[in-house]
């Protein structure tokens, strides 16, 4: 009941404010958004997205327009920031097939804006480009086969006129792939899967993996039992990073299919690891096997970002990967050598990382076998960080403080592999799963990369599944599953400001400047998953076991997502 009262007061407050600022902003130099001014942040927009699905993506601000892409069935809206009341300049709803509703329930819908074009992917496998100004469709191609359970994943990345996309279908036994389209025409340039013979994966001469030195042919095939690689999974996970220095696209690969490990003996390459591909040709350059023969279907989830920091005295651009298996990896983007790996949450599944090969040493007590339950496996599904959806729940790095702000989940799980049966288009998981944990079940962890120790942490009742925004002004924005949007001080982690959005936050906050020069922060509420009213919490394995671990998370009174924009008055 209290939240409903809170909601109504906000709306009244909101309308009042908007009225007050109807006029042009004062011409004076706009106040900076920093620790001091944070408490005076006010919501200046609360736009409903008319969809009850999970808003895992982010909005994109380009010039005076704010582009929003709603969950499936997707709807694109261009919001004019320069006109009072923020009217919608144009909106476009691509044709949608209801068949993909269940499949694309929580995918990252962040669009990309480049060269006047707005590029985004839809739940039913379409990649679409619109003209940023008018919203007219430039091209619309199908890049994923929804009937097999394949889904386009992650925000598109535009590099030198090429749109880099990833497909994912690990839970449906689909071999995920990386693909590049020509930004102008939408023509497919190349497409490589992450499992299968070298020809499919794009492994040629220039490939060398530090951890797997013996260069054998078709390792994406021979590390699987006969024929099992065809339903291998291993789609895109943890987003795509473009390393300008080495001209590399670095992305994570998802977990192998099925979740039941007994039917896929072997290392199941190239799943659950980090792949680096040549930007132009897509050919693989190096690979790090983070979880060979992944027992817990975590894949290389979590977040992947590049950071400029001084490592042992030299200033280098390194790759930071806060992984779903609970470790933070510092990796040299040139050849994928793992420089450092430490656990940022309590981990029971593994006892440590082998320094040379970077592969985890397994904890025998946490071994899993078919038809028997293994209890207390930490981190629990979908992982210590990352929203379980490629490109969601990403960490943020602030060079000034040298801290990596990781949205973490402290849940553990009971996991029981079962007989998996492959039917095209139906889930190919074969496991019973219950997440377990007592509050605090989540934390914002400020990880000091140099000394591989957490500087500070803010503990939360529920796991943090949304992304983190670290602003130059020394503020760290993050959202929680019970609807709070908070700002913490980047230095010591004091929560300076918070706002109740009424529905769980799993999206990525974005900072941009309003036409009148004021700094603004935008976030999307609406968490889907357990908040989906169709979930019955009396079944402990519902919503991938979340019904057990998050049994006390109240479903939102209004499941419709909203776009909130905050700015200083």
């Amino acid at each position: 009941m209290p939240r409903a009262v809170l909601r109504s007061t906000q709306i009244v407050l909101l309308l009042g404010m908007v009225m007050a600022f109807a006029g042009p902003a004062a011409a004076a130099d706009p106040p900076a958004l920093d620790a001091a001014s944070a408490p005076r942040l006010r919501a200046i927009m609360a736009l409903p997205t008319e969809r009850s699905g999970a808003n895992s993506g982010a909005v994109v601000a380009a010039g005076t327009t704010l582009f929003v892409v709603t969950p499936y069935p997707q709807r694109v809206k261009a919001i004019a920031l320069d006109r009072p009341g923020f009217p919608t300049r144009w909106s476009y709803t691509p044709p949608s097939t209801p068949e993909a509703t269940a499949l694309a329930a929580n995918m990252v819908t962040t669009p990309a804006v480049a060269d006047g074009r707005l590029l985004f992917v839809t739940g039913n496998g379409h990649a679409i480009a619109l003209d940023a100004q008018s919203g007219t469709v430039l091209w619309d191609t199908i890049q994923a086969d929804v009937s097999q359970g394949e889904m386009l994943a992650g925000p598109p990345l535009v590099v030198d006129g090429r749109v880099i996309l990833g497909s994912q279908g690990d839970d449906f036994g689909v071999r995920g792939a990386m693909l590049a389209l020509d930004a102008a025409s939408g023509r497919r340039l190349w497409r490589y899967t992450n499992v299968g013979p070298d020809a499919d994966v794009g492994i040629g001469g220039g490939f060398r993996s530090v951890a797997l030195p013996n260069a054998e042919p078709d390792r994406g095939l021979v590390t699987w039992p006969a024929g099992a690689w065809q339903q291998g999974g291993g789609g895109l996970s943890a987003g795509v990073v473009y390393d300008t220095q080495h001209e590399l696209l670095i992305h994570g690969t998802g977990h192998p299919a099925p979740w039941q490990p007994d039917v896929r003996q072997g290392d199941n390459l190239w799943t659950s690891g980090l792949f680096a591909r040549d930007v132009a040709t897509g050919q693989a350059r190096w690979f790090d096997p983070l979880n060979p023969h992944d027992l817990y279907a975590l894949g290389a989830g979590g977040s992947l970002l590049q950071a400029e920091l001084d490592w042992h005295g030299t200033r280098r651009t390194l790759l930071l990967h806060a992984s779903a298996n609970g470790y933070v990896y510092v990796i040299d983007p040139a050849d994928g050598r793992i420089l450092d790996a430490h656990a940022f949450v309590p981990v029971t599944a593994t006892t440590g990382i082998d320094p040379e090969t970077g592969t985890p040493q397994r904890n025998p007590a946490m071994d899993v076998s078919t038809n028997s339950t293994t209890r207390g496996i930490c981190p629990g599904w979908p992982g210590a960080t990352g929203g379980g959806v490629p490109g969601a729940g990403s960490a943020a790095f602030l060079p000034r403080t040298g801290l990596l702000y990781i949205p973490a989940s402290l849940l553990c799980m009971d996991f029981e592999p079962r007989q998996a049966n492959y039917l095209p288009g139906t889930p190919y998981t074969g496991a019973n799963l219950r997440t377990t944990g007592t509050p605090p079940r989540g934390a914002l962890i400020a990880w000091d990369v140099a000394v591989a120790r957490p500087a500070w942490r803010v503990e939360e009742a529920f796991p943090l599944r949304g992304g983190v925004l670290a602003t130059e002004g020394g503020l760290v924005f993050y959202g929680t599953l019970d609807g709070w949007f908070k700002a913490a001080d980047a230095g010591d982690g004091r929560v300076l400001w918070q706002f109740q959005t009424g529905a769980g936050i799993v999206s990525q906050p974005v900072a941009f400047t309003l036409p009148d020069g004021r700094a603004a922060v935008a976030v999307l509420s609406g968490a889907g998953g357990l908040a989906n009213p169709d979930i019955d919490r009396r079944d402990a394995t519902a919503a991938h076991g979340a019904a057990n671990g998050l049994r006390d998370l109240q479903p939102p009174t209004d499941p419709i997502g909203r776009l909130y924009v905050f700015a200083l008055p």
């Binding site: 019973n432 009396r538 079944d539 499941p559």
Partner: protein, 177 residues
């Protein structure tokens, strides 16, 4: 004294019906079981007439319901519906049926699929398998557990088994829709 005998006879008849092991449905019988006449919106409709001739085996026969529970496990229903609680598919035990909870509606959902992503199993399963699965799904969502309802599986405990009426357990606030 007579009523007691009659009661005993009726009880024993139901017992026979519950425990009969009809291991094989003949092809013509299976074909007849597929003669479902759905309504236009494909929700509800007339059950095949042979169902009543067979004594509605998929309602109260323990063996058929047990086979239905095995098929629920074998054909990957848990991937979308978990053990009745729902994952990316809706829950089956919360008594809220978007397409109706009568046998024909469930059978149609299984055979022809449903728009929001429910795949069609008509090509994947045989008719009596689909009727067994229909019987099980109804026992999963029923409020008064029947004595023929299956018991728990030898697997991770998720909810009370069908013979303990999971749907009748403490209901959390109904979804708004």
């Amino acid at each position: 004294m007579i009523e007691r005998c009659v009661l005993f006879a009726v009880l024993s008849l139901t017992a026979c019906k519950r425990e009969m092991r009809d291991l094989r449905s003949d092809p013509p019988e299976a074909a007849a079981l597929d003669q479902v006449r759905p309504m236009e919106n494909r929700i509800g409709g007339a059950a095949p007439r042979i169902m009543y001739a067979l004594g509605q085996p998929y309602e109260g026969n323990a063996y058929q319901l047990n086979q239905g529970k095995r098929l629920y496990d074998w054909f990957g229903c848990k991937g979308c519906h978990a053990q009745g609680g729902g994952v990316i598919g809706p829950a089956l035990m919360d008594g809220w049926w978007r397409y109706g909870s009568d046998p024909v509606s469930i059978y149609l959902s299984l055979r022809d699929g449903r728009p929001n992503g429910m795949p069609a199993f008509g090509q994947r399963m045989t008719t009596d398998q689909m009727w067994q699965l229909t019987g099980y799904i109804r026992s999963l969502g029923s409020y008064r557990p029947s004595t023929a309802a299956p018991s728990r599986n030898d697997e991770m405990q998720a909810r009370p088994a069908e013979n303990r009426g999971p749907a009748a357990a403490a209901l959390i606030a109904r979804p708004s829709r």
